[in-house]
């Protein structure tokens, strides 16, 4: 906990800016993809217990659809793009034009799933490349993994690296929402840097204490 307690407000601002740049880029990509206006909130940086991470999306039991990837390179970490299942369905329908795509009809339409996977890939890729350009830190995404299950089961996987060192996570959370009359989609970007990555990010941006 010592490292987290010692973060200055300046360093927290830097982390917010990181979230801003990454998710801003992803929101632009999404807006092009949907050909609609996509809004995003100012990112928030939270120092939270593992249980509180689950609460950010409605509790550990809550069913979520998530694209998860590991960030590889100089500043490793985990990244999630999280949607509620009905929002993910809407999302797929808009991107693919499939009218009846649903997670409840088995077998789930392969094309729809593949589209969702690809969207996750594009969004997280654009998030990361902006981050990498800004910080000049080499970061590459792993192949993303698409999953629908309980939030606790999915998100705890992104906490494993952190859990070796800490009982808390610094999570950079940005909410994106699509601005539409008929339907709107809300999603979360969660960026969870591994403990040693913070030092590298701060060093790269010249804000070491």
């Amino acid at each position: 906990m010592s490292f987290l307690e010692n973060l200055s407000s300046y360093q927290l601002d830097i982390l917010k800016e990181i979230g801003n740049i990454g998710s801003g880029n992803a929101a632009t990509a999404l807006s092009k993809l949907l050909q609609r206006k996509v809004d995003m909130t100012t990112p928030s940086v939270k120092v939270v217990s593992f249980d509180e991470v689950m609460d950010l999306v409605g509790g550990p039991d809550k069913l979520i659809v998530s694209v998860f990837l590991r960030i590889q390179g100089e500043a490793p970490g985990s990244m999630f793009f999280v949607l509620a299942p009905d929002e993910a369905e809407q999302f797929v329908r808009q991107v693919t034009g499939l009218k009846k795509f649903s997670f409840e009809e088995y077998p789930i339409d392969e094309l729809g799933l593949s589209a969702l996977h690809e969207v996750g890939n594009i969004l997280s890729g654009s998030y990361l490349s902006a981050l990498s350009d800004f910080t000049k830190i080499n970061m590459q995404p792993s192949v993303p993994s698409l999953n629908m299950d309980m939030a606790g089961a999915i998100l705890s996987e992104g906490l494993m690296e952190l859990s070796v060192e800490s009982d808390y996570a610094i999570i950079i959370d940005t909410t994106i929402s699509e601005d539409g009359e008929k339907s709107s989609v809300n999603g979360h970007f969660f960026l969870l840097p591994d403990p040693e990555s913070f030092r590298k990010i701060f060093k790269a941006l010249g804000v070491e204490d």
Binding site: F50, L63, R70, S145, N147, M150, A153, D167
Partner: protein, 165 residues
């Protein structure tokens, strides 16, 4: 007995002891393992939400004993005995340890589910506590509830509904 039992929630890397009619619940187990140790005739049970296999993984001095299979199970047993359970009567049920993502990677932490199961079994066997039921592995998240009065463990998954073990 009242129809609505009190639910004692067990968080991540957390551990709780309770007696009937209260029930124990932990939600959204992925690669983590839920370990229940109980003395049925005394109606007392403890549940632990284990996150990592081995406390030697810790890079800290002040480690959270409830997080690791080895330390959490020791603590679970100590607490149960302290609260009146009898060592010879203790039995265990376990659930969890899924592999949520199919990464082909050299990163051990992403295959932690399997290692958690092994570590939990090893530690319970070290204490000579029999595992009388288990629902482990696979690739689904689980929510579990234990009823100390019946000794039943309810396991709920998103795709395969609910079962009792």
């Amino acid at each position: 007995m009242s129809m609505t039992s009190n639910v004692v929630k067990v968080g991540i890397a957390d551990l709780k002891i309770t007696r009937a009619p209260e029930i124990l619940r932990t939600s959204g187990l992925g690669s983590c393992v839920g370990v229940v140790v109980f003395d049925h005739s005394q109606r007392i049970a403890g549940m632990s939400h284990v996150m990592l296999p081995d406390s030697h993984l810790s890079k800290r001095d002040d480690l959270n004993e409830m997080k690791y299979a080895d330390t959490a199970i020791d603590l679970l047993i100590d607490s149960l005995l302290h609260d009146g359970a009898r060592a010879y009567a203790l039995k265990a049920k376990i659930a969890g340890g899924a592999q949520m993502f199919s990464f082909s990677t050299s990163n051990d932490l992403l295959r932690v589910g399997h290692r958690n199961i092994e570590a939990v079994k090893q530690r319970l066997s070290h204490h000579r506590i029999p595992i009388i039921a288990e629902d482990v592995g696979g690739n689904s998240g689980r929510t579990i509830e234990f009823f100390p009065d019946t000794g039943i463990l309810k396991v709920r998954t998103v795709n395969m509904g609910e079962k009792e073990i």
